[in-house]
Symmetry: C2
Subunit: 476 residues, 2 copies
């Protein structure tokens, strides 16, 4: 870490983000254009995200597997919309073992095609259904404008692929996984997402319907943080995924796919980060607690370290890091861990030991307000309780910020003012792809997703009656 201040978050959110990712050692630029290295601190956060999601996938009946990275180019062309969507983004292997390949291989941008091919082989009967498989993988999409975590040529994600006997079951599963993402985002990452269907213009290439969770970043821009696709029978027909039903009739399967990626790390940084750096939610933070021992003499050191060791063993179930680095001032260490967003800091000095107290400093509330002393007795219960407070406060704060920056508007002038200067616009909307494109062209705001709504209103753009409300916002 160096001592320079971060760029001003209010004035230059984008540069604040770029610098923060580098200086907190979350990621670094790789020598290949648009690729990133996820550094150990960033990867530890991703591993906690993985664990939180994987637990939910297993609880909903999924198993993990691994499908190949390389896909014959011809596979990509079998589903018409899919190939149109992904062709411009492909990385293509043309040489292998020194020989020009007969058929080029694409590096997977997503795996519907290769997984569909295997499902066609594995599924014969209704008894084989549903198939509920997830994979944790790297994928490559040849993006032109890149940004660490948010949009890189290679990124890491999970992609779930399921096959079902009926339309209803597949549709329900699409919704189930959207709910899993929402639950994860809200309760683990403290990111208060809005879940809903995307418009036809914004759906996944080859899907019948795409659902997303949308998060509001600290600059009020929207970020699509996870998607769940109902694929109908499109891929089943393209890849011949069929089964004999209970009446011995051959039927096409109904399939779904859903993914959440390292992009979510960007969502966490931009939802919670502040002028001092990262603010990580306790449930996912690589270190939930950092302990900074403070001493001048060897005698003091012995005293302090004895207490530190007691705290560490008393907090055995938490992720605790003791900053034992020599030759650095406590102030430097405080700044360093604030930059890195550790939720709770415990300072232990000789006075604290004598008084039988611990000095706690919350990352979510800086300055005096976030400091408190607790008695050493009972710290095993007190510290987890403070972490739970922090987790809850982070969600409440982000939810408040989000709600304060969503505005219901009923005409295009107000709409333009909102999406340009204030945040998200929530509007009654009569579906029309041409209007949607025109609005995006004129305002840079895109339709994020449909709101959960009831009742009827008047479309802000066309004046037509409608029962749909949607969110529009500039997005990442």
């Amino acid at each position: 870490m160096d001592d320079k201040k971060l760029p001003n978050r209010q004035e230059n959110f984008s540069e604040w983000y770029n610098q923060l990712v580098l200086r907190a050692e979350m990621a670094d630029y790789a020598p290949v254009r648009g690729c990133m290295v996820v550094r150990p601190y960033g990867w530890a956060l991703w591993e906690n995200i993985q664990a939180a999601l994987d637990k939910r996938f297993k609880a909903t009946g999924h198993v993990n597997a691994a499908f190949p990275l390389l896909i014959p180019q011809s596979f990509m062309t079998k589903e018409k919309e899919h190939v149109e969507g992904f062709s411009p983004e492909l990385a293509v292997v043309t040489y292998g073992g020194g020989q020009l390949l007969e058929e080029p291989l694409v590096v997977r941008p997503t795996s519907e095609t290769i997984i569909g091919t295997m499902y066609a082989k594995w599924i014969q009967s209704y008894r084989d259904l549903p198939v509920l498989i997830n994979q944790w993988a790297n994928v490559v999409r040849w993006e032109m404008r890149t940004k660490l975590f948010l949009r890189t040529l290679e990124f890491y994600w999970q992609e779930g692929h399921t096959a079902h006997a009926t339309e209803q079951e597949a549709a329900e599963h699409t919704q189930r996984m959207l709910n899993v993402y929402t639950d994860f985002a809200v309760n683990e990452a403290a990111v208060p997402v809005l879940a809903g269907q995307k418009s036809d213009s914004e759906k996944f290439a080859g899907a019948k319907a795409t659902y997303s969770i949308e998060a509001m970043m600290g600059d009020t821009k929207a970020l699509q943080a996870g998607t769940s696709h109902f694929l109908g029978q499109n891929f089943a027909k393209a890849f011949d995924i069929k089964f004999l039903d209970e009446n011995n009739q051959l039927q096409y399967c109904w399939t779904t796919s859903w993914g959440l990626s390292t992009r979510f790390i960007g969502a966490i940084i931009m939802t919670h980060g502040d002028e001092q750096g990262l603010v990580l939610p306790p449930n996912l933070a690589p270190y939930q607690v950092v302990i900074v021992p403070i001493y001048r003499t060897d005698e003091e050191k012995a005293l302090v370290i004895e207490t530190v060791d007691k705290i560490v063993s008393g907090l055995g179930n938490l992720r605790v890091f003791v900053d034992r680095r020599e030759g650095l001032t406590p102030g430097f260490k405080f700044n360093d861990w604030e930059l890195k967003g550790v939720p709770l800091r415990i300072e232990v000095g000789p006075k604290d030991v004598q008084n039988g107290t611990l000095a706690l400093a919350r990352r979510d509330i800086l300055g005096k307000e976030g400091k408190r002393f607790i008695p050493m007795a009972g710290f095993e219960q007190a510290v987890p309780a403070v972490l739970a407070e922090i987790q809850a406060n982070m969600l409440a704060k982000a939810t408040k910020f989000r709600d304060e920056h969503i505005f219901e508007v009923s005409n295009y002038e107000d709409f333009k003012d909102v999406v340009e200067n204030k945040g998200w616009a929530k509007v009654w909307w009569y579906d029309d792809a041409a209007n949607e494109a025109k609005i995006k062209e004129e305002t840079k705001a895109s339709l994020r997703n449909y709101a959960q709504t009831e009742g009827e209103g008047v479309c802000f753009y066309t004046g037509k009656k409608t029962n749909k409300q949607v969110y529009f916002a500039k997005g990442y």
Copy 2:
């Protein structure tokens, strides 16, 4: 599962293996030549391998990270021996986003070059050392003759990459990780490997010294199951990894790398498998216990399932699967789980419930000898104890098999007989790369690694005095 018998393991070990991998649903052939799909049952085994290794890596101070899949072609050429070793095996991306790339990108076959480039950027001072990073990743090597798990174009592995201030520290770390692999293989996989240095002819391209763990398969062939490389300053000089030492002098780092891959799944299958199928070590098996409920009437079913549920909750710390499939006979289920190598089967029928006993059947000892009844009371302790017995027995059995198939020989005639018909030859050996090549050419047996040995002897091939003993064997 189908009902066909596996190919005869004694007569056609290779085909026995191929069929077993497919029929136990460990893996499947992908539509791309030489690539595999790791199916959920195989991937669950890999996840347990990962957990067992990752725990050991963390305990020895390592952190995980993720480096890019795509490497500029020019990077591969910076270390002379490295490029010679890997050039023939590369998959090369020449197109991205529809454009011919200015510089082709290779899909990583291993990551010394890209990680070395980042280390050069990150390491400045002795205070930054050691750097101890591991990554779990997929890699691609363009192999011509492939076999599921053992040699595929794409495979999954971990690769550790460390940088140190001194030669001694790097050399010690190389050894430490070799010991970690040995400990994992012996105590988790029950695969009694022999650890030692490889000959110069067999070392990693660019390493100063390579160490391996070598395992004996059920057909007595050798399999290299993990490697640890001391890279000296070769890569540090090629990639400019330097640091200021405590005297403010600029020095090159000393580096190591080490890897273990999905090949190890093949080692487990070929070490322990038998005529009936897989035999998985309890410490790594996806399911440690399978429960087969047996009943004819609804009344019996209710009775049996009540007990089954009790067992499941009593074995909460174990990986237990209850085979609730309807319409299949118990005999069919027994065969199925024997094929899949679940270490312990518990059969629960109405009689067992009445008698207050459980019928256990061990996978490592088939037939009557492996069956026993235990009282229902205390099964929570008894079942884990049986699993520990199985784990120990599998290691003892494999060790006995290995030791019975290693022969010390002192002349070339006996040597040829051993490596052709009996197993491994352990011989006194005077280093000579030309002789080593000639022996490999004539007998197909390669020098696996140096034995841990003391004293002196006479080289079986040259008659020269030497203090080294080595293992020769045909290998995978």
